[in-house]
């Protein structure tokens, strides 16, 4: 990680307003010219309940959370202890607590962190309509170097509708926090950020996924709500009609995937988003899209499984179902973005590939990536060449062959309304015209063709993000949201003189053996990093690729993220 960063957490019970204060802080940091990365954790309650907002702010774009937090502010400590494992602290950390809210829980103090008292409630009480979360905000701003002028602007814009009095109350409470923190122990203070922020976005991974879908040309979406994918659909619901598309809420995931198959059969690029339980329901129809060669994209924002698991928390354990869940030999696309920003690119690419190759594409994001908000450089518009191929005019008396056994394996696809090209799309095995067939030769030919169109396609350099030293002897292999901490670990290792490279695989399936071999040329040892209990990615690599002799795996289940320090430790202690 180049540049300076500061990591902080604000926590409190329901009504403490930590999410509001965290969002204001992120907005102010963005306007101050800093980059930001924010995640949230909340209790199981539907509304309210304890919450923690975790922010990392810095002078360069941020890939992941740090190993531990510099600052923990507890507006109160009710049930906040249950987030302890997600809030690593150390002796260098500072804990700010309200003495009126009782002792700081032992799970936090045993880190050896320095503690300091800030009577947030009492200070807020002195101000008409003053709130403790704004006092906390003020103290944090003072410590990290956020100036008041920026905060005033944010409060004015955010509280505009609540009126001048509300703005004045918030500002007074903020100032009380700033004053109180004047003699607090230091945490990293960030230098002034870049003044011009016009080329920056504040965006969540789920919003980026939605935007990628629209840039890819998706104009029909069927939706069934599920945590943590719902925001993809809720962002698309008002956005789609504006660009000439429609979104429909379906009765279940069986319906949502079949609706998009119908929409796409009609010629409109179509997508749905779900999480593990929904993907499990969709697998039969994913096979239909493969067999009938109907392009569709399914976003799986992964959460902790199996079954209902932990619906609000992240895990990278749907790789197996995404790759292997379909019955029969059903080659399809599986892709995974490697960052919040990459949710946009990878989704757009997935739409492009599904349309070009007339098959199903599964995009694996996860809760950590999907619900994280990043202040990042604006994502440049990318345009891909090529789209769904339409048939050319037929000579008199020639029958259209929907599933023509072409050299590339891609058969020009007619859509309803085109006269002379009427055919029946079928999940039954069929011959070239689409007529159902149980003949071995037709099955063989269609299997070959459906595989060939995927394996023969040139995916270019997008198959993986490869960074680090070209002559590295050590490589970190990872995917999805684990690529964030891996990027930071890579920077730290290289700064310490290690020759390391990082391969973050974006195209999970179909595999790219030649490109993979070239990427690992000269590499003697490989560390595989992922967030799954059984090491699904490691096993997948073992099954599909030639790996160097020395391979180690760093994997653990969700919801705890992989920390950059753990990766650095694995590599440095490996000798």
């Amino acid at each position: 990680m180049s540049g300076q960063t500061v990591s902080l957490v604000m926590a409190g019970s329901g009504g403490a307003g930590v999410v509001t204060a965290g969002s204001l802080l992120l907005e102010a940091a963005a306007r101050a010219g800093w980059y930001a990365y924010m995640t949230r954790s909340s209790g199981p309650q539907i509304r309210g309940g304890e919450a923690a907002v975790m922010l990392r702010l810095g002078t360069e774009p941020i890939a992941s959370h740090d190993d531990c937090f510099h600052l923990l502010v507890g507006v109160d400590w009710q049930n906040v202890g249950r987030f302890a494992a997600e809030i690593p602290l150390g002796p260098q950390s500072l804990i700010i607590g309200d003495p009126g809210e009782g002792e700081t829980p032992e799970v936090f103090t045993r880190s050896g962190a320095q503690q300091i008292a800030l009577p947030m409630k009492a200070l807020a009480k002195k101000i008409p309509d003053g709130r403790p979360n704004m006092v906390a905000f003020g103290a944090i701003a003072a410590l990290i170097g956020l100036t008041e002028d920026v905060v005033v602007g944010v409060l004015r814009d955010t509280l505009k509708r609540k009126g001048e009095e509300a703005i004045a109350a918030s500002l007074a409470a903020f100032r009380a926090g700033v004053e109180a923190a004047a003699d607090f122990p230091a945490v990293p203070r960030l230098p002034a950020g870049k003044a011009d922020t016009s080329e920056r976005w504040s965006i969540t991974g789920n919003e980026a996924t939605g935007m990628g879908a629209l840039r890819g040309g998706v104009r029909f979406v069927a939706a069934y709500p599920i945590t943590p994918a719902t925001e993809v659909l809720e962002w698309l619901a008002p956005a789609l009609p504006k660009v000439g598309g429609v979104l429909v809420q379906a009765e279940d995931e069986l319906a949502s995937i079949n609706q998009i198959i119908g929409g796409s059969y009609g010629g409109v690029p179509s997508l749905t988003a779900t999480s593990g339980p929904g993907l499990a329901l969709m697998t039969e129809s994913l096979g239909l899209a493969v067999a009938a060669e109907v392009p569709i994209v399914v976003i799986d924002v992964m959460r902790v499984g199996p079954s209902t698991g932990i619906a609000t928390k992240s895990e990278q354990a749907d790789l197996n179902i995404a790759v292997y869940g379909l019955h029969g030999d059903a080659p399809h696309l599986v892709l995974a973005p490697t960052s919040v920003a990459d949710c946009l690119f990878t989704t757009q690419w997935a739409v492009h590939l599904a349309e070009s190759l007339q098959t199903a594409a599964i995009v694996l994001t996860d809760q950590a990536m999907g619900q994280a908000r990043a202040v990042m450089p604006r994502a440049a518009a990318v345009s891909f060449i090529g789209q769904r191929e339409r048939p050319a005019a037929l000579a008199e008396g020639v029958q259209y062959k929907r599933y023509a056994n072409t050299a590339s394996g891609v058969s020009p696809m007619a859509i309803p309304g085109m006269a002379g090209f009427m055919y029946t799309a079928d999940g039954l095995e069929h011959n070239e015209t689409g007529t159902p067939s149980s003949q071995a030769s037709d099955h063989q030919a269609q299997l070959d063709k459906r595989l060939r169109k995927l394996t023969g396609y040139n995916y270019g350099d997008h198959w993986a993000d490869i960074t680090g030293d070209e002559d590295a002897d050590t490589a970190i292999l990872t995917w999805g949201s684990s690529a964030g901490p891996a990027r930071e670990a890579l920077a730290r290792l290289r700064a310490a003189g290690h020759r390391v490279k990082l391969v973050a695989v974006r195209l999970i399936s179909p595999v790219q053996p030649e490109k993979f071999a070239a990427a690992l040329e000269g590499v003697e040892r490989v560390l595989v990093v992922e967030q799954s209990h059984s090491g699904q990615f490691h096993r997948y690599l073992r099954a599909q690729y030639d790996l160097p002799r020395q391979v180690r795996a760093l994997h653990h289940p969700g919801p705890l993220p992989v920390r950059p320090g753990a990766i650095v430790e694995h590599i440095t202690q490996w000798s």
Binding site: L254, V268, M418, G420, M422, Y423, T424, A425
Partner: protein, 279 residues
Amino acid sequence: MDACVKQREYTAKDYKSEVKPIWCPGCGDYSVLAAITRALASMQLAPENVAVVSGIGCSSRIPAYTSVYGFHGVHGRALPVATGLKIARPDLTVLVTGGDGDGFSIGGNHFLHACRRNVDLTYIVMDNQVYGMTKGQASPTTEPDWEGSKLTPDGAGIESFHPLVVALAAGANFVARCSSSDPNNVADIITQAIRHPGFSLVQVLSPCVTFRPEQQEWKHMVRTAVVDVTDDAARAARRLMTDDGFNVGKVLYKGNRPAWQPEPKGAVAVAELEADFAL
């Protein structure tokens, strides 16, 4: 020049493909296939602007036997495919074909919500009260005491499903029952169903002569219903609750709900949505 040439008139044959049905001799579905092609011809719909969507089962094989656009998907999911197609392509005429197992058992939830949603679809259910493709098991519409299946040798033991009453309760906009023994009547009812906006359900009693040979008697048991069409769903439901299932040949209910069709609201460039994310 073309403007002066009279458009060729479509006949029922123009909607039929060369593919030979897999059905048993005597199956009622032959008549329903003929009725569908006659209905399309009577409306002179261009074949390329019609789609027939189905799931799995004997009657679900119909798309390949037509010459219009067809979609033969997985078991129970014909209605969602058709819903997505019609919403994405409102210019098309979309028919859905299938049987009682596909529609009311594995696809039961979609059936309820297709009625509710009232997208402009015509759903033709060939009801033979049995799973034929899997060689004779009880379906949702099978009588509870039918002992002809090895799977439920003592009878299914549970009450049969009443699709038309359920459709009315769930909000279908057009409900009719007819018999494959009178294909002209079936064609007439399908034509009315296509013309009526919203979700139309046409139940066709279509005997399975192989696994329910007693259904060969249906042609003698059916009678033309003596009721007139109503727009009162409660009235239609009451009538249906008390009949024996053999009153056929009539449209029983025509509702007044407009079809549901979500519309795009504009055509701005995707780039304009970037404003959502600007600082």
